[in-house]
Symmetry: C2
Subunit: 148 residues, 2 copies
DNA sequence: TTATTACATTGTAATCTTTATAATTAGTGT
DNA sequence: ACACTAATTATAAAGATTACAATGTAATAA
């Protein structure tokens, strides 16, 4: 049984447990998010599925991404650019973002608990979580630059 | 001589060096950004200055924030919400963000050089910088919650 | 000083992402 | 299969940001 299949099944179970109906559209959006190695925008998802669902509304994509976010299946990533990207939640990881081509690559690093503690101490906040990304140039774009 | 005055003078010098004209609008936007302890949106700035510049266009605010970003005077902060916030660049610092009221508080922490190095190693990226924020509840909002 | 040129500002329209709304359709439990 | 409720669709609306053309203003050179 593939990892993708596992993830999908677990996601569907989560939906059932939380009383969220499993519709063909939701199934397809989840499936696409899980198999997608990129971190797609709502519009990416909409375009990717319009072959299978010619009548699907873009509102459906947004609605369901919100639902998935609310039950914890999906994280919304907001970078500087115009639209949010969506990431199926598996294990904790951080992102490296290429400033030339926009590619997003996952990398693992132990959680920055110490930072959260210090921040909590100096600001008085009750800290719930954090976000962190590194920015730079991916190997492909580095090569392209060297050629020119 | 106050810190604010220093910052403003340095910022104006930077503009001169990079050949960016110093207009009354630019002067006012910089002044407002420096003295502002909040991290204002473009619209905040527009509203704050419409008393002094009744004819200023919102496009001017956006144009100049872009210019300031390009010469490194200002950082654009993009969180999940609708509009970007702008932060005058002084010393390196991170942000703690209140999920209840939206307040943003600065805190200092040694740069996460180790994270950048590991990310660079596992992804092959040439890492130029990173961003990190912690999210939680500020002291005021924590009190408000306890009361209820 | 004056003319010239390049850059800034203004006002407005356009674009783009996301959300709201109302009507229709489709899942789910009995 | 029925009834109930939620989801989908289509469309409009909202909000942030950008594009563009016309006007204004600062720097430069004659």
């Amino acid at each position: 049984m593939s990892h993708e299949h596992n993830h999908l099944q677990e996601a569907l179970d989560t939906l059932k447990e939380t009383g969220v109906r499993i519709t063909p559209q939701r199934h397809a959006i989840l499936e696409f998010l899980i198999q997608s190695m990129t971190h797609p925008t709502a519009d990416d998802i909409y375009k990717a599925l319009e072959g299978k669902f010619p009548n699907m509304s873009v509102a459906t994509v947004y609605n369901n991404l919100r639902v998935f976010r609310e039950v914890g299946l999906v994280k919304e990533l907001t970078y500087g650019d115009a639209s949010s990207r969506f990431d199926f939640v598996t294990t904790e990881h951080y992102h490296a973002i290429c400033e030339d081509c926009g590619k997003i690559v996952d990398f693992h690093y132990p959680g920055l608990d110490e930072v959260e503690q210090l921040a909590s101490h100096v600001t008085g906040f009750k800290v719930s979580h954090h976000r962190m990304e590194v920015y730079g140039t991916c190997p492909e774009c580095t090569i392209n630059k060297e050629v020119h």
